[in-house]
Structure formats: C-alpha cells, structure tokens
Symmetry: D2
Subunit: 489 residues, 4 copies
C-alpha cells in the first residue's frame, strides 16, 4: 500500500558535457541609494558563469518591493536589455548561476529562491550542499511544510523561517538556523532592508566581500566577479561568519566561527574557480602552476613537449614545463563556439565527436614524446579519446599527468562527483587506468601534493573525494535524488 517514486524533472536533452560540476555561484550587492543593481548583478553573474550554466536569476529589491527574473539558460540568454530594464532600479540585489546537467522543466529549481512570509519576504542564493537536508526536510514536512522543488535551498529557507517566528531580526534567524544546517553553504540572503552573507563553519565553498568605487558592498563566490564590476576586494568571509549590511553599516556575527576545521574544497583551486580569482589569499592560477610543478617533481618523465587539455589543464602544463624545462606547446584548439544547444553527432558520426570540440595541432605533437596534462579523470572515456587524438596526430609517446589525486569517494559538499561505480579509480589501479586510456605512462598528483598547491592560502582543505576523510559526518548512503521517499498514496 505504498510506493516509491521520483518526481521526474530530469527529462530533457542530455547536454554534451563531461567531468565535474560545481553547484552554483552567488552574488549580492547593497547600495546606499537606488541604482542599477540589476545590471551590476548581470555583469557579476557573467563572470561567475563557469560555476553554473543550467539556469540563473536576479532578484532586485526596490525599497522592499521584490522583482525577479529567473530561467534556464546562460546569463546572456536569460537576460535581455528589455527584461533587465523591467527588473528596474533598486538598492539591493542578489543573483545566482546554477550548474548544468538537466533539461527543460526545472525552471522551478532556478535560484535565487524568493520566499513570501508574514515576517517579510526574503531571497536566498545558495552554493553548496547540506548533508542533513533530507532529515530537515522530513522534519519540516511532518510539521506540515510543503516543497515545490528538489533543492537544498528550500530546506534552508524553512530552517530560517522557523527561527524568524522566534527572533525579531532576520540575522538572528539565520544565526540560529546555522545551528541546524550541516554541510556546505555559502549563502547570500536579501530581506527588504538587509543583505546578508553567511558561510558554513567549515568554509567548504568560497565567498568574498568587496566594495565598488561608488561604495556599494558586494558579496561573490569569486573575486573575478568583483573585478568585472570594478569592485575592490575587501576580504573573504570567515568560515562560520555571518555579515549583515543595512543602512547602519556592516556588522559581522562570529557565533559560528572557529567551531570547525577550515576545510575549503581543494578542487576550487584545481578546477572550479577561474584562474584570475584569488581565494583565501592564494591565486588560483598560481596554484595550478604549482600543481604542474609538483606533478613534475612527483612524476618526472623525459619528453619533447608539454601539452595541456583546454581549458583547465593549460596552467598546470605551463607549470610542468617551467619546472621540467620541457617546452610548453599548444597542442589543442578548442572550438569556442560550442555551446549549450550543440547538436550531438549520431552514432555513426560518434568517432569524431571529440574533434568537433577539440582539434589537435599536428605540428606540435608529430613525432614527439608528449606530456599531456589534465585536471582529473572521472570515467576515463574522454581521456582515452584525447590520448587517441594525440596519437593519431603522430605523437611517439603520450605521458598522461593529472593535476589532482584519483577520485575514490563521493563528494557531499556541492560537487557532482559520481557514485563509486562510475569512478574509474574505484575500479582499476593506476597501471590499469594507464592501459585503459592508452597512455605510455600515467601519474596523478599525490594527496600531499594537492594540499601543497595553494600553500599560501589562509585555509586548510577538504580532500574527502580523494581519501574519504570528510571533515564532518556524512550520510551512510547518498542517493541520486535525496528527496525520494516512501509515501502513502
């Protein structure tokens, strides 16, 4: 008399994408007086687009009046001059970009989430992943809550709302709610009169604060968003910190600080963040150069040229080249027009599918011993194709070097790392992987190595996906859709 089922919002076209996905980028701006906060947010989201290509949204607050526009698509697809103008002027705004795996119908999952409530509306933009979302959701549902979406953000909004009923101010509500929320969250929250930034006590995901030339305070997932609107970096939000901006100025609430080990996701440096961003004081670009250098130190090889897989392998390849003295070569051209709506080659055209995105410059690799650098191997399929491309172009040897350790464990903190059965490093040892991808040698960065790439950063790292050592308790099982549930009919 009961049934298991899934709310199907996963239909729609499968996009041509492989590898890992970061779950989201957030942004918020607070200006003293009414101005074009929608346009500022638009440009900032543009700079954060690499953190999420599925959907995006902006909520503008004009003296308490909330307007928003959200949809699936890239920032320049979703926002037009006309709908940005309709959003209008305001004194506070929040924005969000969301990562891309699914299709048509999940417009309702687009953020920021706008919540109406007797204590006042709020808009929430969230980057991260809760480990106790399912428990919380069940608890709220058993108290009568209903859910519209399948994302954590709605759970967070319930947690905050629960506290608002007992506490006079929204910042106290957020502060109290943080006792309930377990996991990774970098939040930007807007109430009618306030802009609030909050980061989980482990600081899993980055979040920084800046100031524009005209004095507006902004929060963003990465500093590249600050640069894009000409804002100066002030500082990173501390793990567990909550910052409130209103017409009384800026106020920091540190109740949850220093309660947990600082555990920034090291993969932000390896892959997610833009190389021009600076996180916790460390340049992402420089961290990747370092990764290349350490790779050379850990896995030296005699070769004629070092080639990076665009875009994320390029910096590490340069670092490897500098350290080794082996010349750096541009071995691939990536088609910069391949976008969301790209049509898939049919089965019979499949052999060329990688070539449409990535073409080898034969000149660079022909007759050479090539060191090929990429940031990671997930399933191994794409990697094998790329090695094969290089060989077809005449490379004599292909030495694969990976600028991170093997993935052997799922991520519970906001990264779309597959279940164990799909991770090649859970199925094979290094030499088997090397054979599988068709390389002459294969070297991964060690766990010690990856911890050292951003040694100048003011943080420690979470390396759970590499070694299974998670800084906080994680669920025993991690279902694909964590909000599946048994139900009475």
């Amino acid at each position: 008399m009961s049934a298991l089922f899934i709310l199907l919002e996963r239909k729609g076209m499968i996009l041509m994408s492989s590898g890992l996905h970061e779950e989201c980028g957030v942004f918020g701006i607070y200006t003293g007086s009414t101005s074009d906060v929608a346009a500022q947010t638009y440009f900032a989201l543009y700079a954060l687009q690499h953190r999420g290509q599925e959907s995006c949204g902006i909520v503008v607050n004009d003296k308490g009046l909330f307007s928003y526009h959200k949809d699936t698509g890239l920032v320049p697809e979703v926002f037009t001059e006309s709908n940005l103008k309709k959003l209008g002027q305001g004194n506070i705004a929040v924005g969000h970009v969301r990562y891309s795996t699914t299709g048509n119908n999940n417009r309702s999952n687009a953020q920021p989430l706008v919540v109406r409530h007797i204590k006042g509306p709020m808009a929430i933009a969230h980057n991260g992943n809760l480990v106790n979302a399912r428990e919380l959701r069940e608890k709220y549902e058993l108290k009568g809550a209903i859910f519209h979406n399948t994302n954590d953000t709605e759970v967070i909004s319930y947690a905050i709302t629960e506290q608002r009923l007992a506490h006079p101010s929204i910042e106290e509500a957020v502060e109290q709610a943080m006792y309930k929320l377990k996991g990774a969250y970098s939040l930007v929250i807007m109430s009618p009169k306030k802009l609030i930034a909050a980061r989980d006590p482990n600081g899993f995901r980055p979040l920084c604060m800046g100031k524009t030339e005209s004095g507006a305070i902004v929060f963003a997932s990465e500093t590249c968003a600050l640069d894009s609107i000409g804002a100066n970096f002030i500082r990173d939000i501390l793990p567990g910190e909550l910052i409130v901006v209103d017409n009384n100025g800026i106020r920091s609430i540190k109740t949850h600080c220093n309660k947990a080990p600082f555990s920034m996701c090291v993969f932000e440096y390896v892959y997610f963040a833009r190389p021009d961003s600076v996180i916790e004081g460390a340049s992402v670009h420089k961290a990747r150069l370092n990764a290349g250098r350490i790779l050379w130190e850990e896995h030296p090889v005699e070769a004629d040229v070092v080639v990076g897989v665009p875009d994320s392998g390029l910096d590490a390849a340069l670092g490897f080249s500098r350290a080794s003295g082996i010349p750096y070569g541009v071995g691939f051209i990536k088609n910069r027009y391949v976008g969301r709506t790209f049509i898939q080659p049919t089965q019979s055209q499949r052999s060329n599918s990688v070539r449409i995105k990535l073409n080898v410059i034969n000149e660079v690799v022909k007759g050479k011993r090539v060191v090929l650098i990429d940031d990671s191997i997930v399933r191994g399929t794409t990697c094998a194709r790329i090695v094969s491309l290089i060989r077809e172009a005449g490379a004599k040897e292909v030495h694969m070097r990976i600028s991170s350790p093997p993935f052997t464990n799922p991520c519970y903190f906001g990264t779309d790392i597959d279940s164990k059965e799909n991770l090649i490093a859970c199925q094979m040892n290094i030499s088997e992987i090397c054979k599988h991808i068709g390389a002459d040698s294969l070297g991964y960065l060690s766990i010690e190595g990856v911890k050292a790439i951003a040694s100048d950063a003011k943080c420690k790292f979470c390396t759970g996906c590499f070694d299974g050592k998670y800084p906080i308790d994680v669920p025993k099982e991690m279902p694909k859709d964590k909000f599946e549930s048994k139900i009475n009919e």
Copy 2:
C-alpha cells in the same frame, strides 16, 4: 521598525482587455492504463481557454512519476508537439488555464501546483477564490510555512497537507481540509494513484464529470471540454461533493453536501461559460436567449434592428429579436486575429483603438433605430466608445440593453469584479449612465430577471455582485493583493 510592501509580480505589459475575468478552468483525466493523457488534456484545455488566457499547465502522472510543463501564454503557445511528447504517456493527468491580466514574471503562479511531501506528491488545479485565504495563510506562516506564490492554491495545498499528516488517505485529507476552506473552489487533485474532484458546499463554480469512449473518467469546468475530446457527460459534481477515482473505481464522499445553499455564480450563464456548454442541466446558449427575451419584456422599445456586441452579446440580441420581432442584425465585425501580443495604438492613434478590434457594418445600422445588446457595463468606457461607433455609422437612435443587472458590489468568489470606485453603477444612477455612454435609452436586466434566465437549472444562484447578498460571510475589506502584510524587517 516595520514596513508595508508588495511582492511585485505585477509588472509587464498591460494587455488590451476590458470587462470581467473568470479565474481559471480545470481538467483531470483518469485512464485504466497508460495512454496519451497529455494530448487529451491539451485538447480539453483548448476548449476551456476562454476561462483563462494568462497561463496554463499540464501535469502527467506515469505510475507515480509526475512530469509537468507550465508557462504563461495561450494553450497553443505554451504547448508544442515537442514538449507534449516530453510529458509523455501516463494514466492520470490534470490541467489548468489561468486568467489574464498581468505579464512576464508570474510564471510561478501558473497551475496546476505540484507539491512534494513525505506523504506523497500531489498536483492541484483550482478554480475559485477563498474568503479566508489570508487568515489560513497567516496561520500556516506562523507555524513555519513559507509561500512561493500569491495565489490561493498554495493555501489549499497547505490545508490538505496539514490533514495528510493525521489521515491515512489523500481523500480523507481533502475531506477534512474542506472544513477549513471557506469560499469558492472547484478542485481537481492528483496523487500518485488517484484523481479527486471536489466542489465547495455552495457550488459557486461549475464542475462536471464525463467518460470517454475508451472508458476514462474526466472532470472539467465545462461540458465543452468533454465534447472536445469526445467524452460523454455523466453528471455535475454536487456542491460539497468529493469524488475519488482510482483502480477500485469511482467513489463519492458527500460529507459536505447539503450544508449550504446552492449558489452557482449566475454570471457563468451570462458571460463566462461557452454557449455550447450545459451547466446544471441548463444550456448556456439558451440562458442567454432567455436573457434577451426577458430584457425585451422588461425594457421594450420601438426599433429597426437588434445588434449584439460580439461575442457575448450576440445570443441575447437574438433572444431579444425573437421576442420583440425586431430584425436581428450583424452590426459588428470582430477582428479574429487580435491576440495577446497586439501592439497598442499610441495616444494619437487612440481614437481608433476600438475599431482595430471591432468595426461597424454601416449598411446594417445606417439611418436605423438600433437596439444594442451587451452583457454588462463595468466602467462604461468601452460601452461609450461602441455607442459612438454606431452613431458615427449613421444610427438614428441607440437603445442600450444589458443582459445582467448593474454591478454594485465586489465578487469574493473568483471573479475579477472591480472595487466599487471603478464600478459605474456605484457612481451614477441609470439615467446618468445612459447619458454617460451616449445612448438614447438604457435598460438593465432586473435581478429577478437574471435569476430566471436559467430557470431549468438544478441550482440556485449567487447574485452578490448585483445585490450584495452573499451566501456566506465575506471579509469586511477586500484588498487588491490579499497577501500584502506588515512585516518585521
């Protein structure tokens, strides 16, 4: 330390529309086995399109898996072959059309509302208006509920969810929730295994049941939706009745029946419903012919031709003509291509704006004494323009006859009748209105008259908008956005 504000989703273009708006049409289908329930729902919503042009949606249930597509726009705009195919096959579906006044951003108000909950998901399609929605909403919010939208449907879903926690089956939950809901509601609700129809104890809005040739059970706001998919009419849902369809068959729950006076909205016959529908046993077309006949009996006049204002005045004009013996004439041509996206004439072109939609056939009215029939006068502006068009075309006299009584009170049960200050009949007496619109005489149908137009119907009528006699208690004040509220910041 508190502030009043409004969640602004009312931005966007104002469409070219006047008169009254029905709030929604609902549809549901239950088939024994998997079939093209999405397509059936599509055709049914097409037939119900006149009940709501703002947005529409379909939710398909394939053995517990819910898929949906909802958006702003007309049914043929929102649904394409491709997205109907994506919705796929299923054994239950619900659909909804919503009325049209606002613009871009309120996609989130589109129905059916899909709700996720530990007790199982449900989809709700609602036509009507609660009089205690604000109280209920406040109550739920104080218990921690959050709201995404500004419509009653979300309130109803909370009321049902509250009961689900205490009662094993969804039909019991609905049955219990009906004790809390005050006002007008015709509901179609889908759970993973059941399709449920429910009508408020006063039966304000219509709701009927039919059966397709292949044996599927369907519920619809009007019989014209049944006709469009070749379904046979079974019967109207009783006021207060709840019907459950599942694989055990059809079951009626009458707990709330006969607890309140039957109070169908008489305006369904006058204006809202399609003339080819039959409601509570009475033909809508025939009711309008009757309205014309009674108009003649109450306000006879010597004239040469009777002309109806398209589309809703045509039937009454024919009834008036038959009763009076004055020839029926086709006085207007309505441009059948004027749609949602029509561009408004600028101020300088304004004088012709009615002519773009409606042109007079001079031949028919030139030199004649014309009886002009329309269904209602709201503000008087459109009516004055139409009288003026007829005069410009050479009519000698224009005798206006209205097939309903003057609006003097707001509607609390799902009709968009304006506040008193905008109702011309609250500001002027009949002879002032007559002068205002430029007619030679003016006659409204009496309240007794309007009650008699569907005398063969199995129901009594609500005539609250004409006489202020509401069948149930109504709120003292009726704010435009009933979910505005004082908030703490």
Copy 3:
C-alpha cells in the same frame, strides 16, 4: 542529359485549414511629412489579415532610405513594438499579407519585394496572379535574369525594370510594363519619392483609395483597412488605372482603362472579403444576406431553424432566415483560440478533430429540421463532418444550402482553387454530392444567382471557376508550381 525537378520550398507542417485561399492583401501610405507610417501600416495589415496568414511585411521609406521587416507568421507575431520602432519613421510605406499553406522555409517569398537597381530601388506588394508569368519569366531568364523566389511578384519587378531603362519615370515604366502583364494584379509600388497603385484592366482583385484625417493618401485591398486607421474612403481604383502620389499631388493614368471587361472576382463577396468592407460600392455583408435570400428563392425548404457554418456562412444564413421566415439559430461555437500552431489530433483522435474547432449547441438543433448554410464545398470532407456533427446533436433533417455555385473549373486569377480531380463537383452530380455529405437535400446558388448578390456594385463579375468562361485567355495547363522547368544540368 536533362532532368525535371522542383525547388523544394513546400516542406514543413501542413496547417489545419481547408477551403479556399485568397492570395494576399496590399496596403500603401503616402504622407506629406515624416510620421509613423510603419504603425499605420501595421494596423491596416491587421485588418487585412484574413486575406493572408502565411507571411507579412512592411517596407518604410524615410526620404529615400528603405527599411523593411518581413517574415512568416501573422501580423502580431511578425511585428513587435521593438521591430516596428526599428523600422522607424518615414513618409511612405507599403505592406503586404500573404496566404497560408506552407511552412518554414519560404520566408524568401514574403512580400513586399524590395528591388535594388541602378535606376533606384522599389518595393512592390502584389495581390493576384499572372497567366503569362511563366512565359515572361522564361523570356527574362533567357536574357540573363536570375530568380530568387517562385512568385509572380519577381516577374512583375522584371517587367517594370525592363521599362525603367527606357523611360525616365517609374510611373511610365509601370504603365509600359502593364502592356506585358496578363492576368490579375492589384499592385502597390513604392519608389524613393512616389507611391503608385495599379490594377489590371479586368479589375479582378479589389483595390481602393482613402485619405486619413491628417491628409495621408492610402491604398488598400479592402475598405476595412481604411476604417482601422480612421481613413475615409475616396474611391475604388478603376480597372486598368494607375495612380501616382508624390509631392506634386495625386495623378491618375488611364491608358489601360476600358480596354477589357470589368471582371471582379465574385468570390470576394461570397467569401474572401471581410463583411464590413464595401467593394465597388456594394456592401459585402449585404451581398451575403442577398446570397441567402436568393438561395431561399432558388431552393426553398420546410424547416425549423437556419444555421450558418461560422464564420462565412453566418450572413447568408441570416439572409435565408429573413427571406424564409424560418428562425435563425446559432448552431455552432467556433473556438476562437485555434491558431496557426495548433497541434493536430493523431489518427486515433481524428474523429473529434472538427469538434476542437467547432462544437454544436445541441439545444438549437435537437429534434429539428435544420437548414445548414455554408459558402462553398471544395472536396466535401469537411462538409460531411459538419453534417454528421449536426445529426449527432439530434437534428431530424439536414438541408444543406451553399451560397455559391459548384466549383467546376480552376481559378487562374489569384485563388487557390484546386485542380479538377479534387473538386467534388467535377466528380459527382448534385444528388451524389448530397448523398456523399449525408444531407437530406442540397442546393447550390445558381450562376445567375451569384451574379445578382451584389447587383448594386459598379462592376461585372468573373465567374470562371463556376462556368469556365474566363474573361481573358488562360493557359492550357496549370501546373501546381508553374515555375518547374526542364533544365540542362
């Protein structure tokens, strides 16, 4: 060494449409000074939309600078506030609507056609069909001309251009070109400084002139377009006449007048034109009432109600009712939201396909002897379905009356009347057709009758499609795509 082939622009979805298609509506406006001619043309095209739903276009002339926008779709689909604004202000404009049968790719056939040439550009909007287009085209091709499209308008533009090389002014070029053009053409032509209207010597298609309140001169296919922009009717263009408007005023060139019998297409009155238009002094609505009256005189019958098939049968039904004394009834409701993009029911849903567009009001026909009036029968399929609908609704008898004579011959002058093998009246006699459509009796208007419906018009009629008597020589064969041709490879 040669091959027959067709340029395939006929792909794409087949729209749900039956019956006949007029090929196009034209409009032009000349203002003394710069003004919003694009908007005026937009509203005029709206009023002419019934003459063509496939594509439309507007060309604006701002002191010699031509801007245009053309596309497939209805006027309100193709033109937005934004692209109308981009067209900008100007002092002359021409517009065009084109009829609808095909799909996606024929944007290139959209009119007005804009032609660049050393003697100056011109824009041409054309309604009609040449009988010697193929000969002319071949002649121009053999002189080196190339063609982009498959329509007559490009042929006409070559004919005019040929003359421009020899004659100083564009009006002389048009005047001379008219010696070459055989067939039906109502043209509106714009040069950098002039607006020109021209009508073929037989006057097959209507074309009239009006003046706006601000003094602009306008030309339009029908007077309803004049009404829509508040212009006053001046007069119809004479058959063979050419009118030039420039800053010297209005000039008529009558070289080609009175050279051929006036042969207006009588089907303009029966079906094509809007009832509120007045053509050659005769009201279209009144002509249809007359058609109904004459039908009664020619084919009387005892019955209880007269019902017209919407929209074009309604006026004739009213005329029949008035003449016969049999009550006029509203037997059908047409879904006014069925548009271009309507999704077709699948084979299994086919039986209901008519019902989606047209539903019977049972009340009106149940148990009655019904006279059913439509404007024509082409293949008989739709007619048979409609008769069947009426019978299912309980009609005791169905007497079909058609307000035009049987189609027995193709039209060469701009109407999409099918080849003989698809015309039911070429395959069956009247009693066979009656049986085929399932009626109890069937009566067509006689040829004498149809000639009499607009007896007050200042024209004679072409009745070629009824009696094969064409006013000018027609080609022996009329291929579907007249520009198919043998080619060398």
Copy 4:
C-alpha cells in the same frame, strides 16, 4: 531630379566586437549516394564559425531538389535538430558562414545564395571580394537585371548565368564567368548534379579539398573543417583552378591557372585562420610561433614575462618566449561565455567594459616587465585599454609587440580593414602610437618579417594592406557601400 540614398540594412544593434573581420567561410560536400550531408555540413560550419558569425546557411540537394535554411546567428543558434532534419538527406550540400557586424534585417544577405533559372538552379557560397563588382552590377542592371541584396555573390551569380545561356554545362559557364570576375573569390557552387569549387587566379583566399572515410569529396575554406568531420586532406585548390565533382568523378579545369601571381592574404596566417589549420602546406600555428620569433629578432627587449592577448596573440607570445628565453605567462582570462547577445555596459559602466571580456591575472604581471603581444592594432582604442589593464595590475613596464606590420592601406580582397582615417598607423608614427596606447615601447613585425612567417608555404603573399602594393588593379575609391548609386526617381 536625382537623389543619393542608401538601402538601409545597416540598422540594428552594434555588437561588441573590435578588430578585423574575415568575410566568410565556405564548405561543400558531394557523396555518391544519399546521406546526411546536412549534418556533415553543420559540423564543418561549426569548425569554420570563426570566419563569420553574422549569419549562416546550408543548402541540401536531394537528386535535384534543393532545400535550404539560412538565418542570422551562429551555427548552433540557426540550426536545430528539427530544422536540420527538415533539410533532410541528400547527395550534395553547400554551406556558408558570414561575418558579423550588423543586425537584424540582413537575413537576405545570408548565403549560400540560391538562384532559380531556366537552365537549372544553383547554390553559391562565396568568400572574398570583387574589385569590379560595381561595374558588373551596373552592366547587368542596364541589361534589366534586378538585385535583392548588396553582396557580391549576386553579381557572381549573374556573371555565371550570363554564360550559362551560351554554354551547355555549368562548369563552362563558371569558367567563362571567371574572365569577367576581378578580385578575390573562393567559391563552392552546387548545381542539380554537380559540385564545383573555384578559386581566383591570385588565390587570395584559401580553399582546400578533402575526402571523408566513406569517400565523399569535400571542399572547405580551412582544413580544420575537414578534421571536424574526419575527412582527410587531399590538396589545396590551385589559384585559378576550377574543380568539378559529379558522378563521372573529379575533373580539374586549369584555364585560369598561372595567369597571375599567387597572392594569398598573409593575414590568414596572422589572424583569420584557426591555428590548427594548415594552409598551402604551412601550419597556421607554426606561422604564428614564427611571427613571435621574428618579432623578438626585430624588436628585442629585456623583460620578465611574455603575455599574449587572447586568443590570437597567444601563439606569437609563445614563439617570442621561446626565442627570447623570457618566460611565457598566462596574463589574461577571457570570459568564454561572452557572445553575440551580450548587453553593453552603459556609459557610466564603460570603464569596466573590457574587464567583462578580459581579466588580468595580477599574479602574473605584478611588479614585472611585461612583453605584451597582439596580432594587430587598428584604431588603438582596445590596445590602449589592455595596456592600461596590465598597468593597473601592477606591471612595471609594458612592451607592446605586434605580430604584423602597421595597417596603412585598405584591403580590397575580402577583409574589413577600415578606411585610412580610422587606421591609427595612417595618422601617427610608431612613437606617437606607442605614446597613445601607453606602452613603454612598441614594435611591429616588418613587412619582410611577415612574409617570412610561413616560409614553408607553397604560396606568395598579398601584403597590400601594409605596403599598398596590390597584386591587381584596385578601384580609385572604395566607398563603404559600394552599391550606393545615383538614381532617377
């Protein structure tokens, strides 16, 4: 009595683009039997997208039946699975991408041009620019030709058509037409049974031939298009050569070969072509490395890092670094999501407009002497902004190096190089330019240097834009729209 005017198709939004534009990329495919030529063309156009972003089109030939789809937009925007499927299967196809400067209304300029003619239809795709297009056009117009567009391709189609009337086969017609056409043209032409490639006698623009694994013959502007569909490179088309493919095989016509000096545009190597392409035997990537090396030899400088401006300056920077021993650095991150529809910052946000596209990695340049490498300087504005970005990021010195000589003359052969008044090198000497852009030193590649970058190529180069030495006579004046003309009204 005459007037000068311009056919306005230049309206519409100005896109965010700077630098030079290549006018087009072409592609053609001939298969023995019916197959998915549309999809193959789609993938090839994707690879050629960098040669033109304004519009694109594909024409498919299915046994003589031509179908096409063309529109403004990028390849993945214009083509969807659905419209590619509509184009259907065929045995020949041609495709085209066109460069991007203008907006909305020039859909009619999209190629391939499809021409209908009594001798058979043809489709033409063209890359290049005629120097006698205006004369030819005037000549054809005086013979009665009309023009729909403002591009050279229509002129070429007239030239071919003129010859077709006198010659039995299309290849003879093209061969003869080549006597009339002066300037740059790489053509792919399709008739019902043949695919033809032709290149002007100077070989200004590249054009190559390849063969797919299944044996289809393809022509493409660049080899990267061959790679993308897995075709093997056969050879480059010779200057003046004409290649015909039909069911008799491949035939070369060399009538026009060796009649003029080989004069490939050297800018194809510097900027236009994709680095992974090989033109006339020389790798584009290697040519750019060479350019960097020669730059170092010609303009050495002491510095700490070499940084290229993405994307086209990167390869030359690497070459410079290798030659000089100065470390190569990744100084900029280019936002890879900035596309066509990007919204422009307003005046007040202008100072950051470059940063939205391009952000500096401070780490790389801070406190350093930077060699900055770009491919060219046109107006100097963008260059100045980039130098300023580097300085703001803390560079101690900025030494600008340009991998081509200064532009001092217009291009007449298909490149959008501005008129002299907009070329900074026509207004200032090197030291003035250096000061203007804010650099510490500035060095351009010499003319001798640029000629040496692809010294292994089988061609000589046109360097007209650098030294005014054009390989053929050029017009005295080069008006912006060469088809403006005096006209009689």
